[in-house]
């Protein structure tokens, strides 16, 4: 089937190829495309929010629509943009960095993507099917229980489906790193981005079940008359907050650790130096992940947990500043005395350091439980988390895209446009969010759709909105850059940056089996070692032999589609039982596909030694 499909030409076969692919590099393209699409959607929602707040008592959006906007902006950016974009980069690079031919479970990799994509589409269908969710991205009970219409139902089922996809992706990466490292690639020789992928996957594995449980309880409360969060019937609405933040705090590390990893790789590459304090960096990452599970209640200081609980969580929270500080200083020390090359990837990385440090500083301020009573639910919090998530994750994604674009697509992004988009976005970002710290301290509350005139908030909000337009222009320049590069971009060869890690030892873009012969790794920064010894090429660890490859499959797509249809059915079956047909049809599609997958043996195929030898090196 796969061979026939690749031999046909035209758009149909191109589409079929991507729908059925199990190749980690193509799945990376899918993740980047899907995540990029939702990023633009979330950005559009952000622009609507800022336009509404451009002047006092504006009526650009109605109050209800504003609630839907802020909910969808947050949910989309976190679950459907930032995480998939990071998963895309991990898919594109991590298997190459450990010298593997693919991930451990290529089929699951594809399934993870399609579940995410269909979950995201389901969530966004709400705009056209009676209104989007409007209870905030945290969807606190009892607000989320009482929210009329189907908005929150879309939130529950959309996130449930895409969350399952993320969980599958995380487990897949874990197994890949544990079992598929090339000969000689010990744990302490793995590049920091691979380490970050590994530890992030552990976080996904342990954090997402809490969200799954919370969403199930919410689903049963809303659709099937249970009362987990209904105080009047003996439930407890605080349980939602605990479950959500037991997931939610590790989630912010799921967003930031991969960025930390790729910044480490970028700083070391463009400073022409080994990463300073490699071991400390690895253990700092682990420590952040470990501590990340015992701080969730810092989001709940004002709930009334009592002074003892608040103090414990405050101290645990501040402890995280220590490993994070270790990282910041190690990056500075990596650059210290290096022969630094400043290009777009490096600019985003350099911009990240002060931005993220400000976000970390306000984080420690918020972590002080007594002071938090003042900051809670004001724009100070909004400013804080945009400094860490945009300044960390989004800057990281953009740095990573500039850095690995030649590896992923064979063409290098235009430097000039890269620098322009960085400066416009960077200035716009600080215009938008720096002033929000002060708006918050002056008492402007989060999530309100209007503010009153002459309360000292007019100027700040205007500046903030102007900044948002700068950010939009920065993103548009980046999009133009992508199109320009696709049409006219230079082809820089396999190793444009003087890379140190294994991904730069492959072709750009890599052949579908990545490595003809698995490379022999002789230390940290394996390619750099070979370069310094005058060889410049990896030593093969095995003779040329048959390569076992997985077959493409449409089943992951069908499973995603099935759950999507079933999700729609679940949402509307409360209105009319005829919708149960959709539940049954969707579940039949999904479970039928699983049955086919289980019962029909699919052993993949071999690329034979002779074919490999015939191909030009």
């Amino acid at each position: 089937m796969s061979i026939a499909a690749t031999q046909k030409r035209g758009f149909g076969s191109f589409l079929w190829d991507y729908l059925t692919t199990v190749d980690h590099k193509k799945i990376a393209h899918l993740y980047l495309f899907g995540g990029g699409f939702f990023f633009l959607l979330g950005g559009l929602e952000a622009m609507f929010i800022r336009i509404q707040l451009i002047k006092p008592e504006n009526d650009f959006l109605s109050a209800g629509l504003y609630n839907e906007m802020i909910t969808m902006h947050g949910t989309t950016m976190i679950f459907l943009a930032a995480m998939p974009l990071l998963l895309g980069l991990m898919n594109a690079v991590m298997p190459l960095q450990i010298g593997a031919r693919d991930v451990a479970f290529p089929f699951l990799n594809s399934l993870g993507f399609w579940l995410f994509m269909f979950g995201g589409i389901l969530l966004n269908c709400s705009w056209f099917l009676g209104g989007a969710p409007d209870a905030g991205w945290t969807s606190y009970a009892p607000l989320s229980i009482q929210s009329p219409g189907h908005g929150v139902d879309f939130y529950v089922l959309g996130l449930q489906i895409s969350g399952a996809g993320t969980l599958i992706g995380g487990i897949n990466f874990l197994v890949t790193v544990v079992t598929m490292r090339a000969p000689g690639m010990t744990y302490m020789r793995m590049p920091l981005f691979t380490w970050a992928t590994f530890i992030t996957s552990v976080l996904i594995l342990f954090a997402f079940p809490a969200l799954t449980v919370g969403l199930f309880l919410l689903m049963f409360d809303r659709m099937f008359g249970s009362a987990f969060f209904d105080v009047a019937l003996g439930g407890n609405s605080i349980i939602w907050q605990h479950l959500f933040w037991i997931f939610g705090h590790p989630e912010v590390y799921i967003l930031i650790l991969p960025a930390f990893g790729l910044f480490s790789d970028i700083f070391s590459t463009f400073s022409r130096k080994r990463l300073f304090g490699y071991t400390a960096m690895v253990f700092a990452t682990m420590l952040i992940a470990f501590l990340g599970f015992m701080v969730w209640a810092h989001h709940m200081f004002t709930v009334g947990l009592g002074p003892v609980a608040n103090s414990i969580f405050a101290i645990a929270t501040m402890a995280i500043a220590v490993p994070t500080g270790i990282k910041i200083f190690n990056w500075l020390a990596t650059m210290w005395g290096g022969s630094i090359e400043i290009n777009s990837a490096m600019l985003w990385s350099l911009g990240f350091i002060p931005t993220f440090t400000i976000g970390g500083m306000t984080g420690v301020m918020l972590g002080s439980s007594v002071a938090d009573y003042q900051y809670h639910d004001t724009y100070f919090v909004v400013a804080h988390f945009h400094y860490v998530i945009v300044g960390g994750t989004v800057f990281g994604i953009l740095a990573g895209l500039h850095y690995w674009w030649p590896k992923m697509f064979g063409r290098i992004l235009n430097e000039m446009m890269g620098k322009i988009s960085f400066w416009i976005f960077f200035i716009g970002f600080h215009l938008t969010f720096f002033v929000q710290h002060f708006l918050g301290l002056m008492g402007m509350p989060r999530r309100y759709w209007v503010f009153l005139e002459d309360q000292g908030l007019d100027m700040g909000n205007l500046v903030s909105t102007i900044g948002a337009f700068f950010m939009a222009v920065g993103v548009i320049v980046f999009l133009i850059n992508i199109i320009y590069t696709a049409v006219k971009g230079e082809k820089p060869g396999d190793d444009p940056w003087g890379g140190r890690t294994l991904e730069w030892a492959t072709a750009s873009p890599p052949v579908y089996y990545n490595f003809k012969q698995l490379p022999l790794v002789r230390g940290l920064d394996p390619l750099w070692i070979e370069k310094t010894e005058g060889k410049g090429k990896m030593t093969p660890a095995e003779p040329v032999g048959d390569i076992h490859m997985p077959n493409s499959s449409i089943l992951p797509f069908m499973m995603g589609l099935g759950f999507f249809i079933a999700g729609i059915g679940f949402i509307f079956q409360v209105d009319h039982s005829a919708w149960l047909i959709a539940v049954y049809a969707g579940m039949a599609t999904a479970i039928g596909s699983m049955l086919i997958r289980s019962l029909k043996d699919d052993h993949g195929y071999h690329i034979h030694k002779e074919e490999l030898e015939r191909e030009a090196d």
Binding site: F206, A210, H242, F293, M294, A297, A309
Partner: protein, 107 residues
């Protein structure tokens, strides 16, 4: 000829190992059924005070989980350190969560 004997030796060694493994599995299986019967018996006969029954049941359950992990899921075998680390990480995260919620609620 020499080849043959050495493979034979390995074969008999493997058989020996497999036999021991099977024995262990069966013993564990029997023990687990025994534990389950005891648990049922304690509750059904109402022989003990509720104060004692609950902790005893929990301990029995814990031992069974241990058997499950170490004998049936082969955590005791070599080369399974990474899964073991992961499982204990998960157990740690779960315990932490439960302890915190219990303490916050009843302390």
């Amino acid at each position: 000829m020499t080849d043959n004997t050495s493979t034979n030796k390995i074969d008999s060694f493997r058989k020996q190992k497999a036999k021991e493994e099977m024995k262990k599995q069966l013993i564990t299986f029997a023990l687990m059924i025994g534990f389950t019967l005891i648990a049922f018996a304690i509750v059904a006969t109402e022989a003990m005070d509720k104060m004692f029954v609950v902790p005893i049941l929990l301990i029995l359950a814990l031992v069974q989980v241990g058997f499950q992990f170490y004998y049936f899921m082969h955590l005791k075998d070599k080369g399974n350190e990474m899964p073991a680390t992961m499982i204990y990480g998960g157990v740690w995260a779960a315990i932490l969560t439960i302890v915190t919620l219990v303490v916050i609620t009843w302390w």
